[in-house]
């Protein structure tokens, strides 16, 4: 009897220690991003948001303006492309569930979720960048829209499904068409969940790096927001500058990391205000 209780105590202790082994790296990461990123942004001043990166190895820091402007454009454009696509797909999955086509569509959406995002970048590269003879913010937005599609679609669908069937039946009994019921009644009731899905998609769009590697161009010698020209993105700047030996560029990478982390945490808090349970 005593042995069992002692074993149970040891088990509880082990569980706590192992769980902490997962939590401590996260806390360390957040603290490092806050300290090093804060240091970079403080040193660069407001110029961090408005200036171009300084030359490599220079004592000056410059800023990450091309990356931040590009990320903003990418976020808006990819959400504008991806969310309507996801909403339409979710409506189909919800309205015609049980049909063979809906099951197939769900299977494809799920596999899209597990496909490495770098491959989505390669696809857009082959289909858009090569024919247009150049990388562009538009190509990057398209890649990000494809990446966010399955996340937003599954989120919106589960929001629609949480609406009690009685509302749907009441609408149909009034003589509304299925489209009217789905769009006006069910989507109206589920609007908070749908909005949360949109926000989750946004957070995917600003954090993803791999789909942008061969699509967006990494052009940071000027600030570009023209969708048809090459641009930059914050994750891409981090990826490139982290691999350089230059202190000022690495500092910019930390500054951009702080901006990114702050943005996704803000998005998380906002999404949390809309729905009780957020799945990132």
């Amino acid at each position: 009897m005593k042995g069992r209780l002692a074993l149970d105590k040891a088990f509880t202790l082990a569980v706590i220690i192992v769980a902490l082994a997962g939590i401590i790296p996260l806390l360390h990461l957040l603290a490092t991003v806050a300290v090093r990123g804060g240091e970079a942004i403080l040193r660069a001043g407001p110029g961090f948001f408005t200036e171009l990166p300084a030359p490599p190895g220079s004592r000056r820091l410059g800023g990450a303006a091309p990356a931040l402007a590009g990320s903003l454009v990418l976020a808006v454009m990819s959400t504008a492309i991806g969310v309507p696509l996801a909403f339409g797909a979710a409506l189909f999955l919800y309205e015609f569930r049980g049909t063979r086509l809906a099951r197939a569509a769900r299977a494809f959406l799920m596999s899209l979720l597990e496909i490495p995002t770098v491959l989505v970048g390669i696809l857009v590269y082959v289909l858009l960048v090569v024919p247009l003879h150049g990388q562009s913010l538009l190509a990057g937005s398209l890649a990000l829209a494809i990446v966010m599609l399955p996340y937003v679609a599954t989120y919106v669908e589960s929001a629609l499904r949480q609406v009690p069937q009685t509302y749907r039946e009441a609408g149909l009994a009034l003589g509304l068409t299925r489209a009217q019921v789905a769009l006006r009644i069910v989507a109206g009731i589920a609007r908070r969940g749908i909005l949360a899905g949109l926000i989750i998609g946004l957070s995917k769009a600003i954090g993803e790096t791999a789909p942008l590697l061969f699509t967006v161009g990494g052009a940071r010698s000027s600030v570009n927001i023209n969708p048809l020209r090459p641009g930059d993105a914050a994750p891409l700047l981090i990826f490139h500058y982290a691999q350089t030996p230059y202190d000022n560029w690495r500092m910019l990478a930390w500054g951009a990391s702080l901006v990114l982390v702050a943005a996704v945490l803000l998005i998380y808090v906002v999404a949390k205000a809309f729905v009780r349970e957020v799945r990132m």
Partner: protein
């Protein structure tokens, strides 16, 4: 639905088809593009395109160039395996902590911590892994492993740098924790309350109860492992920053290496200057796609079985 379908409902059905078409087309066209462009590499190198260990580009003399993907393939499997071995116990402990140990009002807090882990972009994990984790592991864990367990081939090589297969695996382990946690926790909560009450009423300790419940949801745990493996195998930029980018076989985990995804990230941009190199990278992409889809299908099937058992 019985009876004739009203024409406006039919129109609704057809108007939504393009939306579900997008994801189908993306997956199918992606597979076709990767297969089409990898064909030249398969034709030229045959089985050595996959089983060859040599990756030596040659700018001026294409006939001397060799592109074999064996090392990145093994590197992908090795790092994803380490990731699961590290991520699984952490995620399971967090589930037990949330569901069995923490007082009720702190459970939401742990859930939020895991949400934040999932929300942080992997590129930031990569930057942290390169700057903080890699040097730390080299000075502590790797030196210790090499000194104590250097007689096993896994730790035989001297850890000259912090960016290694092991570092990539450990970082991926942290990254996949939230995925495993989400699936296992959902399954754990779906076990009917009366079972838990019954188990505890019989006088079971916490350990005994957890072992019984984990046994009930073992297909969900297996599914989580598979899906996390797929995620880890496909992760690109975080791995590219911490794996060291070198063609060493992952026989020794303390050496720098390559995965398929990090090879693509590093070399796809310049591959068009070298005949056949891009084709070999497309072949790598095709393998990644197959790994991802296989993990997904197997994982979802297990998850489906777990869900039908609950019903």
């Amino acid at each position: 639905m019985t009876g004739p379908v009203p024409p406006e409902d039919k129109r609704f059905y057809y108007s939504l088809l393009p939306f579900i078409g997008v994801s189908m087309i993306v997956v199918l066209v992606l597979a076709a593009v990767l297969a089409y462009y990898s064909l030249p590499a398969v034709k030229k190198y045959g089985a050595t395109a996959i089983l060859g260990r040599e990756w030596s580009p040659s700018e001026d003399n294409p006939s001397k160039a060799r592109y074999g993907l064996l090392i990145p393939i093994l590197g992908t499997l090795a790092t994803a395996t380490i990731a699961v071995l590290i991520g699984l116990p952490i995620a399971l402990s967090m589930v037990v902590l949330t569901e069995e140990i923490l007082p009720y009002r702190y459970r939401g807090l742990l859930g939020s911590i895991v949400d934040v882990m999932a929300a942080i972009p992997t590129i930031v994990y990569g930057l942290w892994g390169l700057t903080v984790l890699a040097p730390l592991l080299r000075e502590t864990l790797y030196k210790w492993l090499h000194a104590r367990l250097g007689w096993t081939p896994l730790f035989a090589c001297n850890p000259f740098t912090g960016t290694t297969y092991m570092t990539a695996g450990i970082l991926l382990g942290i990254i996949v924790v939230p995925y495993i946690y989400a699936i296992v926790r959902e399954a754990y909560r779906s076990v009917p309350k009366k079972y838990r009450h019954g188990i505890y009423a019989l006088g079971a300790t916490r350990l005994e109860a957890v072992r019984l419940i984990m046994g009930m949801i073992r297909s969900a745990i297996a599914a989580a492992v598979l899906l996390a493996f797929g995620r880890a195998a496909g992760e690109t930029v975080a791995v590219a920053l911490v794996i060291g980018s070198a063609f060493n076989a992952p026989r020794c985990l303390l050496a720098p290496g390559y995965t398929i995804a990090s090879l693509i990230a590093n070399q796809f941009g310049e591959s068009f200057y070298y005949p056949y190199m891009a084709n070999a990278l497309y072949l790598g992409g095709l393998l990644l796609l197959l790994i991802g889809i296989a993990a997904n299908i197997a994982g979802l099937r297990l998850l489906g079985r777990a869900r039908s058992l609950e019903g």
